[in-house]
Symmetry: C2
Subunit: 339 residues, 2 copies
């Protein structure tokens, strides 16, 4: 990895000028600062190399996710991260990373200029500009629910969606269900693609009917409820898995309007276990991601990257929270016979 | 989780008797000690609950793997683990875990009796007796290259074999290879099954011919060399991936005897990057597992389980070490055209 001396040699300037430029000293012109910064990034120089045990700084970039109130999805993720990072002596800055911020500076340059040793990236979609930077970035970076292949400076942290789906499908099978459908939001994020694959893999592992028409995806909740849900019911599905609790909870309401009783006529399972799941009517069975643990693991992974232990993937165990939106398949006799 | 008081209540004895029994006090009969231990295990009582910051003990169970000399596969794994565990205040015991030891006691009971807060399990095959115990055990346990589904007390640590295979196949494709074969030891361990799947997935991801005859597996090295290697060559393979460096290195020799030049006629890639790979003739291109990092990650994962952060899977980035056993596919013109 490059040192300040390497940068100085390459640019034909003194090491102290490089140091001043990287630290934003006022006696170095803005143009030279920019040039030093770009050379530093190009040569793979990162803040970690010159880090002392005091004044260590990391940040959390967050997008497409609410996090300020305790009932919001991101709140506990950030809390868990800080519960690990702050006692370890890190200052943690939370930075909303809108498209403008990402377009204003390349990722490594931003991190170097701001003096961050590493980042935890939460809520990014595949379209976010920095997702391409992460392919080759050198700053230790942990992404929640996003996987960057073959870059030793990045790690993917999340719940094990395959395990979660498999638990949910196995549980439905145990209850006698044989025809299971899936409602998902659009597959524009890495994790939605994973859940979609995991659903079909779980069907196959449980020797259940798994043709592509079993699943429906749409960006619009209205379409899922008004077009796809009735279609799945017409196909004879006795259980529906959903990619998010919000979809599952809306499906509960919609089924009421369609005159289907939950769980007598239809079982519904959500994903994430948001706080409201305990209070839907009936309370929602769901696949749990422990968000405090996700935040903590985010720091575990970041700490390991910052210590040159090149973690690529860190998945937490999922768990299935059984509530009242699931029950025996209608016509349960055949179910019992099959067990 | 159960406390000593819970155990005492269940057995109708005093808490101090439970404590003495669990600590092997000489004034408690062996029969009662055994009974208390069994009840404790059944109730999910584990050592972590009563751990002080001093005298913390973890262990490494190792089997089917040499580890005493620096050039042996297990050496650096144990070293990496101890490099993290010992500064964190843990005593680390290395325990060869033969079948007898595993049959003598259930896993949780062994751990409780010996006072270990957790274990790192290295080299176990699917046939090892404790593999079944791990399905339901309560002691924090990290397994190298073995995955236990849906037990929040266990985690799987290893290199990302999918990423490694994909890098190797993509590299061969870049060199113009279109017909790639695979030689593997028998699929009696979890990780051999993963590598086998990863090989086919990598072929498909690179849009290469991927029928089942492209791969050969055998428990016997002789069979791989004398039967399967010639068969793959007859099929027109211009590159061979191997599940282990030892197989790759033997294949290098065998190809010499068959009059095939490496890499002019055939490219060969190993797996693991054992120290000897730099010294084969020609030096072996291989997929690297950094064993020091595996050991360190083993402790990262164990530490997180011991802190109730339920890591399930932790995979390290693989890397491809390019040496001289790989080169452009013979008849490279077509290769260049296809790029």
């Amino acid at each position: 990895m490059a040192t300040m001396q390497d940068i100085a040699d390459k640019m034909g300037i003194s090491k102290s000028t490089v140091s001043k430029a990287l630290n934003g000293a006022s006696d170095i012109s803005e143009a030279l600062q920019k040039q030093v910064l770009e050379t530093a990034v190009e040569m793979g120089y990162t803040k970690t190399r010159r880090q002392k045990s005091t004044g260590k700084k990391v940040c959390v970039f967050i997008e497409n996710m609410e996090y300020k109130e305790p009932h919001q999805f991101g709140y506990e993720i950030l809390l868990g991260f800080r519960q690990m990072a702050e006692p370890a002596g890190y200052q943690v800055d939370i930075i909303p990373a809108d498209t403008k911020l990402q377009k204003d500076a390349r990722y490594d340059a931003f991190m170097l200029r701001q003096g961050y040793a590493g980042a935890f990236v939460v809520g990014f979609s595949l379209q976010d500009p920095w997702m391409e930077d992460f392919q080759t970035s050198r700053t230790p970076t942990v992404l929640y629910d996003n996987y960057i292949k073959a870059n030793p400076s990045t790690a993917y942290v999340g719940a094990d969606n395959y395990e979660g789906m498999e638990m949910a499908v196995a549980y439905l099978k145990e209850l006698g269900h044989r025809r299971i459908g899936y409602l998902s939001t659009a597959l524009g994020s890495y994790i939605m693609q994973v859940r979609h694959k995991a659903f079909f893999q779980a069907l196959r592992q449980n020797s259940l009917h798994a043709e592509s028409t079993c699943a429906a995806t749409s960006f619009y909740l209205g379409q899922l409820l008004e077009k796809h849900l009735p279609r799945l019911l017409d196909m004879g599905m006795t259980a529906i898995l959903c990619s998010h609790d919000q979809i599952a909870s809306a499906a509960l309401l919609q089924c009421g309007q369609l005159g289907r009783r939950i769980p007598e006529d239809l079982s519904i399972i959500g994903f994430d276990d948001l706080p409201f799941c305990a209070y839907t009517s009936p309370p929602l069975t769901t696949i749990r991601q422990d968000r405090i643990q996700i935040g903590k693991s985010g720091f575990y992974a970041l700490d390991s990257l910052m210590n040159q232990v090149s973690i690529g993937t860190l998945l937490l165990h999922s768990s299935l929270i059984k509530r009242s939106s699931t029950g025996p398949a209608p016509g349960g006799d055949s179910a019992r016979k099959n067990r």
